[in-house]
């Protein structure tokens, strides 16, 4: 099953591991993006994500389809992105997959986070300490 969500609360990582569980699966791979406390020497006070919700979910679901067409044995896929203010050290995104053998889970998750960063209409704004202006971030290729 594909589990795709935009959430406003802390992501429950134990719950995500449960979504991946399957007696036929020997492997799960979980990627967690967390918020850092610094960027180029500036201290990050807080950061917030906003999304073009309907299109973000559409693109996240397309990523799931892409994964399933490239890695045929994937069992469950989870893509959760948190919106709003995300305190430092908390998860902003979780991408996970389970499969019978490890290579599919590992490769698909790595591919999916790259895809998310280039396709899913979500934006992050960082607010810095001191005199530094806040900034809308831009994912590099």
């Amino acid at each position: 099953m594909d589990h795709v969500k935009l959430v406003n609360d802390p992501i429950d990582i134990a719950h995500i591991h449960q979504l991946l569980a399957d007696e036929g699966c020997g492997a799960s791979s979980v990627f967690v993006g967390t918020t850092r406390d610094n960027f180029q020497g500036k201290k990050v006070l807080s950061l917030a994500y906003e999304a073009y919700d309907s299109m973000a979910l559409k693109e996240m679901n397309k990523i799931c389809s892409d994964l399933r067409s490239k890695w045929l044995d994937l069992k469950h896929i989870v893509i959760y992105h948190r919106l709003g203010t995300v305190p430092v050290c908390e998860a902003s995104v979780v991408i996970a997959a389970s499969s019978p053998h490890r290579s599919e889970a590992l490769e698909s998750v790595s591919f999916a986070i790259d895809q998310l960063k280039t396709r899913v209409p979500i934006w992050k704004k960082e607010i810095y300490d001191g005199d530094n202006d806040s900034e809308w971030k831009e994912n590099k290729e």
Partner: protein, 90 residues
């Protein structure tokens, strides 16, 4: 932008920096039923004060990215257009 031919109203959504510059998250805009993406973008940039970020913007029409600014877009009444600054999800 050539508004001599038929026109329709579309909903324009602004995100991130474009929303801050436009000072609104959405606006209803009258557009020709057929227009190139570049012309449309130029019009919206000028109308909503987005010149400082113009070079990095892309557009999405009914939740699909417009990949080429030379593409011709065909609009229907009530379509949705989004101004998409550089992404930073994940």
């Amino acid at each position: 932008m050539n508004a001599d031919g038929p026109v329709v109203n579309v909903h324009v959504l602004f995100f991130a920096k474009s929303r801050e510059l436009a000072n609104t998250p959405r606006s209803t805009v009258e557009v020709p039923t057929e227009i190139t993406a570049t012309e449309l973008l130029d019009h919206l940039v000028s109308k909503f004060g987005l010149t400082s970020i113009r070079d990095n913007l892309i557009l999405a029409h009914n939740e699909s990215y417009i990949d080429n600014l030379s593409d011709r877009i065909l609009f229907k009444e009530g379509d949705e257009l989004a101004i998409i600054p550089p992404l930073s999800g994940g």
